[in-house]
Symmetry: C2
Subunit: 390 residues, 2 copies
Amino acid sequence: MNPVRVGVIGVGNMGAYHAKQLAANKITGAVLTAICDAVEEKKEWVSKELGSNIAFFTNENELFQSGLIDAVIIATPHYSHPSLAIEAFKHELHVLIEKPAGVYTKQVRQMNEAAQQSGKVFSIMYNQRTNPLYQKLRDLIQSGELGEVRRTNWIITNWYRSQSYYDSGAWRATWAGEGGGVLINQDPHQLDLWQWSIGMMPTRVRAFCRFGHYRDIEVEDDVTAYVEYANGASGVFITTTGEAPGTNRFEVSGDRGKVVIENDKMTFWRLRTPEPEFNQTFKGAFGAPECWKCDIPIHGQMTGHDGIMMDWVKCIQHGTPLLAPGEEGIHGLTLSNAMLLSTWTDNWVDLPIDEELFLSELNQRIETSRYQKPKAEATSGTVDMSKTFG
Amino acid sequence: MNPVRVGVIGVGNMGAYHAKQLAANKITGAVLTAICDAVEEKKEWVSKELGSNIAFFTNENELFQSGLIDAVIIATPHYSHPSLAIEAFKHELHVLIEKPAGVYTKQVRQMNEAAQQSGKVFSIMYNQRTNPLYQKLRDLIQSGELGEVRRTNWIITNWYRSQSYYDSGAWRATWAGEGGGVLINQDPHQLDLWQWSIGMMPTRVRAFCRFGHYRDIEVEDDVTAYVEYANGASGVFITTTGEAPGTNRFEVSGDRGKVVIENDKMTFWRLRTPEPEFNQTFKGAFGAPECWKCDIPIHGQMTGHDGIMMDWVKCIQHGTPLLAPGEEGIHGLTLSNAMLLSTWTDNWVDLPIDEELFLSELNQRIETSRYQKPKAEATSGTVDMSKTFG
């Protein structure tokens, strides 16, 4: 079988990592054939680091029309993910986009529709779905071990970022440059895992975002969100870039006990009798179901970005199911859009959100944003992201 | 010095415990002289368990006018705490009330004013304030070790109660009988410690109470509350009686690190450099203050109910400062009232709350309550509360 010929758009930050892995033949079944980056000077880097045989384009249309690629990885700034993906689908290319799926759901929905129409393989870089911890949580819930979910609680406050981080790029933490703060930049994985692991999206959201609370930025750097689910469960999501050392603790309780993921470990407090059954039969005043504290073994390794790339290539070649279908990127984005919209309207937001209202509110903020997009911005960026992998 | 002559009103549940400790001379400086309980049949129990020399009254006015007591412990159902305390202050008695201070803040404020006017010693049974864990947290914050508080997060969901518990008393979990659910019955200690340990009350509250969510009851059994403080900090309080095994985890982060109390242990993640200082001097893109994980030693024993009684008696005899001044009972109650009011109005509640609005909302619910108060209800109740101590 011929290898899948892959192009990468955007080799600042993550894109450079993906390109290097491809060029080093670390992604089974794939071969890197082309790079596209708006920054002309990257051509030399590509030739030196990736190989002189790799074609280089500064314009994505040239890449799409080159005939050199079967598939494309889009690793540009957030705003351009959907528009580039839509173009790529038009050119009958398979697509893998970096997270987040986009900045607002209207555009992401359009991307999903384009993907559907193309029939091409569409994936998103939700590399945390390869983490055996969250796969195990999904397993415990899908298999019924935890029972019906009653409460979710994720405190994800260990995203410390200094002012100097925000000052390192004029586009950072601006409405015009990134379209949001901690929710759009740091949290996409957790927002995805929050719904993917339990297999449920909330039905409504009431959130409290604080903008420039800890840093001199215009977007949110501190968020508390309360959500309700159709089955009666509730949930809380707390995040910030302003705390040190912060916490990463995910608790899910169900009617058969409670699971906590913290410090890369999973503990399951398992009820011997499911709670509803205990409640029906118990006749005393004080008493609770017998509970066993179980350390859950976690097998397997997190294959990360490489794993997602290989999964995508395998699907292209063999039609195997995707771990991270691109269409599912809209879920996490819906949650982050809903949290902003709830804060802006100081009210509940029902899901699916009013995508036009969100976009209009966002556009108002883009108009007065301190950041004005330069022409070549779409694919530039040189900060070392190695420490943000994971 | 003459011992303080103490009477106890209400010897169902907690009152019986307090009376026994007094009768057994376990409370230094105090002597039990009288009991008041509306249930005539308790006279025999008093004589047998507490001593034939203990006077027995079925009417509190007779007790107040008996000349047999200098001080009174009020351990009746919630609603009657303020009115009995106000009467006692009129009779120039020192007062120790069981928690909660009352059911609505208007009445509790009136009680506080009566206490002030009387000049008598007024305390509240916040026995958890004697817990060295929370005393240590208060110490770390008062001494500046944790720095300025930025976030509080208390998940207190280990209050499991079965339907049979609620069915064990017709007054339980009713608006007319208790005036609330998990907030008024199970959480008073945590609501007090939440503000006492950090030394701050919120300025506004947005809460989500769910009524009869897990059980066939009319009051709240599931609550998530978001709060904001004057210094810019935020907080979350989550509680329920419907989960097993539930969680009791209190996290407080400040600009010098983070403290977590869980499983009766305290861990302090201490920043070597305070975060604001690090942020001002750090110039890299990714980096965070150096952090030390410290296990904090907890010395001393929780003296509990006896400790609060002795502290009260000591203050009566020697004028020493109270650990749990009765006037402070209004703080925790304000929080629980605010959470209900926020839910009822589906909106923010600013503190101090609109006490008239709360009372009018509560009265609407009392009018349609499934429970109708029997005449002698005020001081009855026989469920074994020994398992709810702590």
